[in-house]
Every structure is written in C-alpha cells, then in structure tokens.
C-alpha cells in the first residue's frame, strides 16, 4: 500500500511541474510589467529603481531562468502582488479558501446523500415512470448551467418568496452565528449540488445496473436472502466502488461551478475573488487562483486514487 501511494505521488510530480510551467507561460504572455509578478510595490516605482530591480531579480535572463526564479518564489508562498491594492496574492487566496471549501463540501455531501439513493432507486425500478422522470431530471440537471439555476433560484426563493438572503455569508450588522451562516449557505450549496446530484444519480444507476446482473448477485438471491440484503449488502458495496472515482473527477467541475455560485451569491470564496481579478485584469491574482485550484485538483485526484485503492484490493496489488 505504501509502495502504491509513493508511486501515485511520483506520477503526479511531473504533472505538477507541467501545471507551474503552464501558469508561468500565461504570466509571461500577460500584458503589464512582469515585475509585478513578485516584486513588492513598496520597493519603489521610478524607472531607475525598476530597471535596477529588473536586473537584480533576473528579468533580463532567458525564459527558463526566469521560470526557475518564479518557481522558487512561488514555492515560498510568494505569488506576487495585486495590481490595484498591492496586497500580496497568496494571503488573499488563503483567506478565501475556507469559504470555498465549506461551499464545496456541503454541495458534495448533498450530491452524495441525494444522488446515490435516487440512483439506486432508479436502477431497481428500471424503465418505470419514476425512473423516466429521474432520467429526465438528470438530463435537465446536467444541461442547465449553474448560473441559470442560480439566477432562477435567486429570482424565486430570495426575491419572490424571500425565504433566503440574496447573497453574502453573514447578515450585515448582525453578530456572526452558525445559524445565520447556514441560512446564507443553503441556497448556493443547493445550487452548486444540482449538477452534481444529476451526475451522481446517473453513475450510481449505471453502476448498480452493471452489478445487479452479476452472477454473485443471482447466487445471493438463489440462496434465499431477502431482496433488501441482496441489494444493500451484496450489490451496493460493489456498485459504490466506481462512484468514488466519480467524486474525484467531479472536483474540477465543482470548482468551476463554485466560480458561478460564488459570483451570483457574493459568497466570499476563491471563485468570487477570481472573477473580481479577471474583471479588473489583475493578472497576478488570476494566475495565483489558477495555480492554486489546479494544484488542489491534483491533490484531490491523488486522494481519490488512494481511497479507491483502499476499498478495491484489485487495484492495490495490480
């Protein structure tokens, strides 16, 4: 197992290097003074000083050298400085990560808790009216972009029925409380989970249908087990294995979805600060978020691989 984990980590290192190269390429292509990519603006702004800084920090060096300089700084947590406010980028992102994680984790949980049982149900009642309705719902859920579901719900639940607040994480002027945060979290999390419920349902249904026709399930039935035991103990535990990978590879989409839900609901996470950055052409901030999210995806993929191996011995010893 340790050997397997070490191998997975090693495989991901070239990918991580590739990610940093891609981000650096974008930084070099971005308009504006590359100095802003990691020089604190407090060091001065007159041309002579800047020219001296440029030599000092190696901006007259060839591209590979500049890449290594940049990488060295990035590894120490220096992702540059925001163009307008001059705040260092990394702390700005770090401060936003918990809100995004909270939103994603809630959406992920809703997706699993709602999507998996519905998928099982849909598979057991294949081609029934309910299965058809659920399959139709899946198509709608997969095809409706998060921003439309977001706007629609904002229109109906926040502006029409006034059940939920229209944005933010806390009610202004009120003391922060868990209930208040949950009240603000509910709608964006539900919306972010919509696409996710749909894909969870779809994959659980397919995986369940695959498993149900296996011979060991027929055997379990033949030895007289109750249908409940056959489905829940024998079929489900195997049907869920591929579902773990679905959780893993939907992380990029969940992050992308968070960009929209956070923007619509003014949720103070990485997604909304990223959109602010893009709108104000704040390239250091944009690139910082891009680098952080891609690295996060890589880490989540690694974790998925490990969990998958833990529950599926066939992979571990392969």
């Amino acid at each position: 197992m340790v050997q397997y984990i070490v191998r997975r980590v090693l495989i991901n290192i070239p990918v991580l290097i590739g990610i940093t190269m891609a981000v650096f390429l974008l930084i070099s292509l971005a308009p504006g003074d590359p100095l802003s990519a990691y020089i604190s603006p407090e060091l001065g702004s007159d041309p002579a000083t800047l020219a001296a800084l440029r030599t000092k920090f190696g901006f007259d060096q060839p591209l590979p050298v500049r890449y290594l300089n940049w990488l060295g700084q990035a590894l120490q947590g220096n992702l540059g400085y925001r163009l307008k406010t001059f705040d260092p980028v990394w702390p700005v992102i770090l401060e936003r990560i918990p809100a995004t994680l909270m939103l994603m984790a809630t959406a992920l949980s809703i997706g699993i808790v709602v999507g998996v049982p519905l998928g099982i149900f849909s598979a057991l009642r294949k081609y029934s009216v309910i299965d058809m309705i659920l399959t139709g719902g899946v198509f709608l859920g997969v095809s409706t972009p998060a921003f439309l579901i977001g706007l629609g719900s904002l229109f109906v639940f926040s502006l029409g029925l006034r059940l939920f607040p229209a944005g933010g994480m806390h009610t202004l002027g009120q003391e922060e409380s868990v209930i208040d945060t949950l009240h603000h979290l509910a709608l964006p999390a539900l919306i972010l989970s919509a696409n996710y419920i749909a894909s969870m349902l779809r994959y659980t249904r397919a995986s369940m249908l695959d498993v149900i026709s296996e011979q060991y399930v027929t055997t379990a039935r033949a030895k007289g087990l109750s249908e409940r035991a056959v489905i829940l103990k024998h079929a489900l535990s195997n049907a869920l294995i591929p579902i773990v990978t679905v959780i893993g590879f939907s992380i990029p989409n969940l992050l992308a979805g968070a960009v929209f839900t956070e923007t619509i609901f003014a949720w103070p996470g990485m997604g909304s600060v990223f959109v602010d950055g893009v709108n104000s052409r704040d390239f250091p901030l944009m690139m910082g978020v891009t680098l952080v999210t891609a690295t996060a995806v890589l880490i989540f993929n690694l974790l998925t691989d490990i969990v998958y191996a833990l529950i599926n011995p066939k992979i571990r010893y392969a």
Binding site: P31, F139, T144, L151, L154, F274, V275, V278
Partner: protein, 299 residues
C-alpha cells in the same frame, strides 16, 4: 454524413451505419432533440428573415416593456427587441460551439492517433500534456487565458480568440479516447496487412485506423458542442465572453446579475436562458442516443 447516407437506403442494406441509425431512431427523445437542434440552426441561419427588428437599435421610447404583439419577448433597458437579440444571440452561441468543437476534435484526433500509434516518448509527452490541461478547472483556465489572448488580438476579433481558447483547452479527453483505440487497432491484422503492403505510417493512421474511431469521435463532438455552448455562455455571463452590444445568450443572461433586472425585467433574461437549456438538453439527448447506437456493448 451518418444520417443522409442511411436515410436513402434504409430498407435495403444492413451496414453498421444503417444498424446504428436504426438503434438511434428508437430513441424518441433523440429524434425530438434532432428536430429542436435543426430548428435552432435554421433560426440562426435565417436570423435576418425571422427577426425583422434590429437587435442593436435602441428605442428610448419603448424601454423595459414586457412582451407585446410588436415585441413578443419584450424590450430591454435600452429598448432593444429581446426576440431579435435572442435569435441573433443564437447565431453567435451556436457558431462558437461549432468552431470550438471543430478545433478541439481536430487536435484531439491527430494527437490521439499519433500518441497511440508511435507510443514511447511521443505518447508520454502527449499524455502528460493532457494530464496538465485536465488538472485545471475548465472555466478557470479559460477565464485566465481569454483576457491574455484578447489582449493580443484586435477587439473585433475577441470572439475568435474565445473560440480558439475553448478549442485549445477541451481536446484532451478525445485525445485519450482515440489513443486508447489506436493502441489496440495498430496491432489489428488489417493494419498489419496494410503495413506489410507498404502503407506509410500516415496512411495507416489516417486511412486505416481513423475510420474505426469515427463513432466515438462523433459522440464526443456532439457532447462537445453542448459543452462549448455552456462554456461560452458561462464566460459571457461572467463578462469575459462576447462583448455587448453584440448579443449572445450568455451576455443577455449576464444583465440579470443586477438584482433590479433579475426581479423587474424577467423577460429579458428568461428567453435566452431557456434557449440555452433547450439547445443543450436537445444536443445531450442526441449524444446519448448516438452513444447507445454506436456502442458495441449495447448490440
């Protein structure tokens, strides 16, 4: 290609394409989807005939009007006809989808073929490249790249930059798919036979192997168009896509980010929103039925 070839000789032959078309026809939803997509395409192509009013003309006397006989989808903040804007917006949205997918399918196919056929170092480089691109959440890398590409292009060419960025960043899934099939096919007897008859590597790849991968390529392209339409809409919704006053479905919905418009002028964003959903659902219906029709497992 798939459809006309079979439609004319349905009753007679029994080629794989004909059998696939028969299976495809069994899905009522896919046929509905096909009709809807055809209607959308016709509306987009015939936009100047269907939508008589100028989508860009402000009419300050008729601002923010709900739907009437004259303006069937109403008018927006500056009195522009929402129906015309929706129809012309479809032109842009569908065009972006088509061009982006053409680009991504071309890159994915060629790199997948080369990667699977040559193997070794080439394969390794291409596959690591797909790993890197797929690690970036799609909308984030596209949002980061579009302003940079747009900065290099004159402003009226931004739309081509968007098509290029979407196309350049969505090919890895197809490349992996084609590579997997090529790995198997390059050792197939008929390819070995062609090789021993002196067929060049290019001929083996593009004449002998490529046709066998067309089915999965077609399925990918179908879902890819839906995906590209969603990406453009999302990009425009966040203000980085098609720039106003030129309408696209995404940037029409974008105006509803103002709570005032969301609450008080619902007709301005509801129509383009509905067009996005209906188009994408229809394309997904087609894609799903296509996948079932060409998948050997379901035969």
């Amino acid at each position: 290609m798939l459809i006309p070839a079979t439609a004319q000789s349905l009753s007679t032959g029994n080629s794989p394409t004909q059998r696939a078309w028969k299976r495809f026809r069994r899905s009522k939803l896919a046929l509905v989807g096909l009709v809807v997509v055809a209607i959308m395409a016709i509306l987009a192509i015939a936009a100047p005939i269907v939508a008589q009013q100028d989508p860009l003309k402000n009419d300050l006397l008729n601002r923010s009007k709900p739907p009437t006989a004259e303006h069937i989808f109403g008018t927006d903040r500056t009195g522009r006809d929402v129906f015309s804007r929706t129809i012309y917006g479809g032109r842009i949205s569908l065009l972006v989808g088509l061009v982006a997918v053409t680009l991504s399918v071309s890159i994915g196919t060629v790199l997948g073929l080369i990667s699977g056929f040559y193997g070794g170092l080439v394969d390794n480089i291409v596959m690591r490249l797909t790993d890197v691109i797929m690690a970036f959440p799609p909308i984030i890398i596209i949002m980061a790249a579009v302003p940079i590409v747009a900065n290099l292009l004159p402003s009226e060419a931004t739309i081509y930059g968007i098509m290029a960025v979407i196309g350049l960043l969505t090919w890895p899934q197809l490349a992996r798919l084609i590579r997997g099939q090529t790995l198997v096919l390059r050792n197939a007897e008929y390819v070995i036979a062609a090789q021993s008859l002196g067929a060049s590597k290019g001929r083996q790849m593009f004449v002998h192997i490529l046709p066998q991968t067309l089915a999965s390529l077609l399925v990918f392209a179908t879902f890819g168009i839906a995906n590209a339409i969603l990406l453009e809409a999302g990009l425009s919704f966040l203000g980085q896509g098609v720039q106003p006053p030129i309408p696209s479905w995404g940037n029409m919905v974008e105006t509803a980010r103002s709570l005032d418009i969301l609450e008080n002028l619902p007709w301005t964003w509801f129509a383009p929103g509905l067009f996005i959903v209906v188009t994408v659902v229809s394309i997904n219906f087609i894609g799903d039925a296509l996948r079932d029709a060409v998948d050997p497992k379901s035969r």
